[in-house]
Structures are given as structure tokens and as C-alpha cells.
């Protein structure tokens, strides 16, 4: 179980003493992912998904707020003390090639964390070998053929599985998959998605899935939650299917409208939403962050910032003064 409240992260452009520029990557994000649960973060490029993922995985510090891992608050702890807690959360990188050391065989790659663990728990060398084979099997790889190889001898999908297997060596409670499939061939993507779901079901690992392709979020499990992030703020949050089927925030609606329609299989939604302009970091921070791009901007939007909340008649949390359902997503022809 991991929860975060009011997580803020601001990047200062390094090396520029005189002309420092600040990037407000996260502006007070709350989240909570239950044990064995699933959550997906979606949003445009640069809206802070990766940053949040890295903070959750303990790879990045945060400026404000609190993160609690299994009831232990992280903020008071020193970095060294945080480490064992964050080890329960493992990151799966986007690029499966760079995530593996090209000079080490898969065996070596798996051996290092396992032997560390064996030392901590006083287990034998045989256990290490056994466990290495086990995690590989867990991700659907044949240990016999894979162990001795170097990363460049594996396909993208296999590499990504190895990355996952490596994360499993420390028996994590949560996997953070940052665009874990976007660099994998189309035909293989589903395999990885299914694997993640499978691991959830079988091992009770919770999964945090970061993507800008909303559709993939569905494949993590129907009990998952969807967080729509915009410019460092969560603008809509709720069960995956609810949010996808009935988005209320215009930003979520824009995202969903943008998904290409498989003409011939699907028919487009009736009320697609197109933002007025494209994302521009330099847009004002006043009021609703989406206001400038929002086709439905109301009076309050310009100078008041809507907070994530539940309003009547809307099952999911959202941050919009004027939530309204619109039919934006394409539906299969067969449903007609």
C-alpha cells in the first residue's frame, strides 16, 4: 500500500546561476495504490507522469508532501533510510534495451540482486540459481535459453520481460511501468501488458502503469484506477472503465477524442473534444491550468483553480467547475 499526499516537485534548470528557470513538474498530487491494486497515469507529454513515477519508485526526491509506504511516512527519513522501503517498488523503464547492461549476461544481471538478497536472508547459492530460473519462468521466458545470453541477443519483448524478471528478484510489492510497452513492437505489446496483469493476479504485486495511450490502461485490470494528469495536477481520477466510458473533464475528453478510430471496426464518438491550442508550458499558472485550451471555459476558470473533488452525479473525482459528460470515444460497430 502506497499513498501520497500533496506531492510537489519543482525542477530548477541546473548550471544556470543567473538565469534559473523553474519547471513545476508536480503541483500537489495525491494518489493511493492499494496492495495488489493497479493504477494508470495518463496525460500528454511533459505533464509529469514520469516524474511522479520516479518519485514513487524512490529514484527522485520530492519537494513537498508526504509519501507513505506500508504505513511508514517517507518524508522524515533520510535518503539512506528510505531506501529499503522504496526497494519494494521497482521501476520498469520505457526502453528495455538501455535498461539492461549490454556487457552482462542475463544470468549476471539477475545474479547480482539475488545474491544480495541471499546474503541478507542467509540463503544458499543454489537458491539463487533456482530463483533466477523461477523469475524468468514467471515472466514467460525459458531460463535455459535466456540465462546465458546478452541483451542484444534478445528481442525487444524478451528484453522487457527480463527487465520485469529482474524487478521480481527483490519480491517487490509494486511495479512502476513507465511507458513500458511504447517501444515494443505492436504485435508484442499485449504480451507485456498481459504479463503485468498476470503478475498482479498471481503474485499480488500492485502495478502503476504510466502511458499516454489510454487504451493500454485498460489492460492492467478492470479494478484499476485511472489518474489523468495535466501539468503536474491530477484532473480526473476514478475506476478505469468509468473514466474511459464517461469522462467529465474536458482534458480527459480531449485525450480520449484523440485516439484514432478504426474506421471499419468502430465509429467515432459524437462529441469529440479538440483543445483550442497545444500544450505550452509557458501558459499562465493562474486559474484552471487547462482553461486556455478548454473549449468550454466558464467564468470561474480564468482565475480560480478547481481542485480534485467528487461532485454530485459524477462517480469519479475530477477537477473541473463544469463537469459534463460527452460521448467522445469510438464504439465498435458491433455495438450499434
Amino acid at each position: 500500500m502506497i499513498t501520497g499526499t500533496g506531492v510537489v516537485k519543482t525542477f530548477k534548470q541546473r548550471g544556470k546561476v543567473l538565469g534559473a528557470r523553474e519547471v513545476r513538474a508536480l503541483r500537489g498530487v495525491d494518489f493511493s495504490i492499494p496492495k495488489g491494486g493497479a493504477a494508470s497515469f495518463i496525460g500528454e507529454s511533459g505533464c509529469g507522469k514520469t516524474t511522479l513515477g520516479r518519485i514513487i519508485a524512490g529514484l527522485e526526491s520530492y519537494d513537498e508532501g508526504e509519501i507513505v509506504i506500508d504505513d511508514v511516512p517517507m518524508t522524515p527519513l533520510r535518503p539512506k533510510q528510505r531506501q529499503p522501503h522504496f526497494r519494494k517498488i521497482q521501476m520498469i523503464h520505457q526502453d528495455p534495451y538501455s535498461a539492461l547492461n549490454p556487457t552482462r549476461t542475463i544470468h549476471q544481471t539477475l545474479y547480482a540482486p539475488l545474491s544480495l538478497r541471499a546474503k541478507q536472508t542467509g540463503r544458499s547459492a543454489a537458491w539463487i540459481e533456482e530463483r533466477a530460473a523461477e523469475v524468468l519462468s514467471l515472466v514467460g521466458l525459458d531460463p535455459g535459453t535466456v540465462l546465458g545470453r546478452y541483451p542484444h541477443q534478445l528481442s525487444g519483448g524478451m528484453r522487457q520481460r527480463v527487465v520485469i524478471a529482474r524487478a521480481l528478484t527483490v519480491d517487490p510489492e509494486m511495479l512502476v511501468a513507465d511507458e513500458a510497452v511504447s517501444m515494443i513492437d505492436v504485435s508484442l505489446r499485449l504480451g507485456i501488458l498481459a504479463l503485468l496483469k498476470d503478475l498482479r493476479e498471481r503474485l499480488g504485486v500492485s502495478v502503476l502503469f504510466i502511458t499516454h495511450d489510454v487504451a493500454t490502461a485498460r489492460y492492467i485490470g478492470d479494478d484499476g484506477e485511472l489518474y489523468v494528469i495535466y501539468r503536474g495536477q491530477v484532473v480526473e481520477r476514478g475506476p478505469v472503465d468509468t473514466v474511459i466510458a464517461d469522462p467529465v473533464h474536458p482534458y480527459t475528453q480531449s485525450l480520449l477524442s484523440a485516439i484514432p478510430v478504426l474506421h471499419g471496426l468502430e465509429r467515432p464518438g459524437e462529441e469529440p473534444v479538440t483543445p483550442l491550442s497545444s500544450l505550452d508550458e509557458s501558459q499562465s499558472d493562474e486559474g484552471c491550468l487547462f482553461a486556455r485550451r478548454c473549449p468550454f471555459q466558464g467564468e470561474r476558470c480564468a482565475d480560480e483553480r478547481p481542485l480534485l473533488q467528487l461532485t454530485e452525479g459524477v462517480p469519479q473525482e475530477h477537477a473541473c467547475f463544469y463537469p459534463e459528460r460527452r460521448s467522445v470515444i469510438a464504439r465498435p460497430m458491433s455495438e450499434v
Partner: protein, 337 residues
């Protein structure tokens, strides 16, 4: 050349790359016709030879590759494969606009867009450079950009979506009527992608172009293309009108590909990955069907005989299993749905 959308007839095109293992074909015996005024989409996984094919349209396959056989007939230009030197150069840009796969980096980082536009004009002997700039501004404005500002910018001052639009502008500004877009939306996020695709569609219609869109994302093709061609291992395995192919894919690869796309709606259990891995230049089978190793309909004949594309109305499929089946009975692909 007329201001008409040209037709393109690719016939038996084969392109090989020189590798340590000898010359290997990245595109093999591809035959494809782009109807004048149509948008054709080519999909295929990484390494299936899409970019190579697209480059062949401009006779621009880069060493160590070369066009080893076949022809590319473009209305008003003739066989591009035979073009050389100045003729070829003039054809590029003026007759064929090409939007680069990595349009993100397709601009000279040291020069403003405007200067590069002028370079382009000079290269093609445009006398009225002012007119060219005007035209460019108009095009950019058409795509929702502030033309004057963009022309005054360097590459690094533009966002990915803007660069992509600049790429399209440069492809069209000389009035080319055949436009090739190689992965126009890869590395862009959803909203920008939707935007670009809309622009492609609109500009195509307004200007009366023949457009070829290359992508690995079926969604993109489905959005924009009239016709769809599916490539696998350097071969065209299936082609036909987009809606028909998507609605009733015949080739097992096409079917697998469509099934593998995560969708927003519908039964998620229906989706599944294709087994195996896409071939590379080295691992693609030299004879027989290129897809057979991942194919659920694999037959003995697939190991030795390369299936010929067989036409059925507007559609072509190159699969022994499908073709033999369709020869006896009519389509029987709905058994699962």
C-alpha cells in the same frame, strides 16, 4: 507536370541492403498502385521495410542499400528508378514531397526555417521567392501555426508537433502532388497526433494530392487512409480498401495485428499478442512465406513456396491458406467473432 494528383505504380520492387551476410532484401517484389487522389497507408512492424519502400519512391535508398529490381512509375515522371542526377533531384521536392520519419530532426539546426525555405526555393529555381514565402505562411496558417513566427524560428524553438507541420509545409510548398509521410506521428502524443492526422486529411483534400502514409500504428492508417497495405518482412501481404481490410482482415498477420491493438472499448480478453517476434533482415526466411513462423495457419507449402498476391476485387492477399480457402469456399474468417 500537371496540377493533378499523379498515380503511382510500383511493380516488383526489390531493395537490398549489403550486410556482412551478403546482400539481403529489405523489400521484395512489392507491387502496389497508388490511385491518383487517394491516401494509401502502409502498416507493418519495425523493420518490415516500410521506410525503404517509401524511399524507393524517390529513388533515395541510402547506401549500403540499392534498388535491385522493379520499377516505380509515377505519372508525369516515368520510372523513378531510372532517374539520375539533376532530373532526380528536381523530381524530389517539386513532384514528390517527403515528410521524414524523424521529422523531429529533419531541419538544419543552425538555420531558421525561413532560410531553409529559401534554400529550397533556390534549389528548385523558384524565381518568386516572396511568393514562396507567402505560400509557406499560408500553409502554416492553414495548419494552425503563426507562419511568420515559425519561419523566423530555429528547429529547437519548435515543439515536436510544430516541426512535423513544418515538415509537411516543406513537402508541399513547391506544389508537389505526391506526398509521402513516413511515420508522421511517431513520438508525438495523442492530442498532437490527432491534430496532425486531421491536417494531413484536410490538406490532402484541399490540394488534391496522392498521399502515401507509412506507419506501424494501424490506428493512424485507419484514421486517414483510403487504402491500406500491410507489410511483413519486406513483402506486401495484404492490401485493399481500409474499411474492408480492417473490418474483415484475411491474412493471418493482418488479423493478428488488429487483434493485438489495445482498444478503448470492447472485450479486452479478445485482444492478444502475436506469438514470436518480427523478423529482421537476417532472420527473415529466404524462401517460402515470410510469416510462416508466427502463423497459425501454417501449411507445408508455406515452407517452400512464396505465396503470390491474389486479387479479389479491390483486395489482394498473399497467403496460401487464405487463397486456397477462398478459392474453394468464400470467405470464412468470421469463425471467431
Amino acid at each position: 507536370m500537371s496540377n493533378q494528383a499523379p498515380g503511382v505504380r510500383i511493380d516488383g520492387l526489390t531493395v537490398v541492403y549489403k550486410t556482412p551476410a551478403g546482400e539481403l532484401p529489405a523489400v521484395r517484389g512489392v507491387t502496389l498502385t497508388l490511385e491518383p487522389g487517394s491516401i494509401t497507408g502502409i502498416v507493418g512492424e519495425s523493420g518490415s521495410g516500410k521506410s525503404t519502400l517509401a524511399l524507393s519512391l524517390l529513388n533515395a535508398v541510402q547506401p549500403p542499400g540499392r534498388i535491385a529490381g522493379g520499377s516505380v512509375e509515377i505519372d508525369g515522371l516515368g520510372d523513378v528508378v531510372g532517374l539520375r542526377g539533376e532530373e532526380l533531384r528536381k523530381a524530389r521536392g517539386k513532384h514528390i514531397g517527403y515528410v521524414f520519419q524523424a521529422a523531429q530532426n529533419s531541419l538544419n539546426p543552425l538555420k531558421t526555417v525561413g532560410k531553409q525555405l529559401l534554400d529550397l526555393g533556390r534549389s528548385h529555381g523558384v524565381d518568386d521567392l516572396r511568393g514562396l514565402v507567402r505560400e509557406a505562411k499560408e500553409l502554416l496558417g492553414r495548419m494552425g501555426l503563426d507562419g511568420a513566427r515559425v519561419l523566423d524560428s530555429h528547429q529547437h524553438e519548435l515543439s515536436g508537433g510544430m516541426r512535423q507541420r513544418v515538415g509537411i509545409m516543406l513537402a508541399l510548398v513547391l506544389n508537389a502532388h505526391l506526398v509521402v509521410l513516413d511515420e508522421p506521428t511517431t513520438a508525438l502524443d495523442m492530442i498532437t497526433q490527432a491534430n496532425i492526422l486531421r491536417i494531413v486529411r484536410e490538406v490532402h483534400a484541399e490540394r488534391g494530392l496522392t498521399t502515401l502514409v507509412i506507419t506501424h500504428d494501424i490506428g493512424v492508417v485507419a484514421e486517414v487512409a483510403d487504402r491500406l497495405a500491410v507489410m511483413y518482412g519486406g513483402r506486401l501481404v495484404e492490401q485493399g480498401p481500409t474499411r474492408e481490410v480492417l473490418g474483415a482482415p484475411r491474412h493471418p498477420y493482418t488479423r493478428g495485428l488488429i487483434q493485438a491493438i489495445p482498444r478503448l472499448t470492447g472485450d479486452i480478453d479478445e485482444a492478444r499478442a502475436l506469438p514470436g517476434r518480427p523478423p529482421t533482415l537476417v532472420t527473415v526466411p529466404k524462401e517460402g512465406c515470410v510469416f510462416r513462423e508466427r502463423c497459425e495457419l501454417r501449411m507445408d507449402v508455406c515452407d517452400t513456396v512464396d505465396p503470390e498476391p491474389v486479387a479479389d476485387g479491390p483486395r489482394l492477399v498473399a497467403c496460401h491458406a487464405v487463397n486456397s480457402a477462398s478459392a474453394s469456399t468464400t470467405v470464412a474468417t468470421k469463425e471467431h467473432a
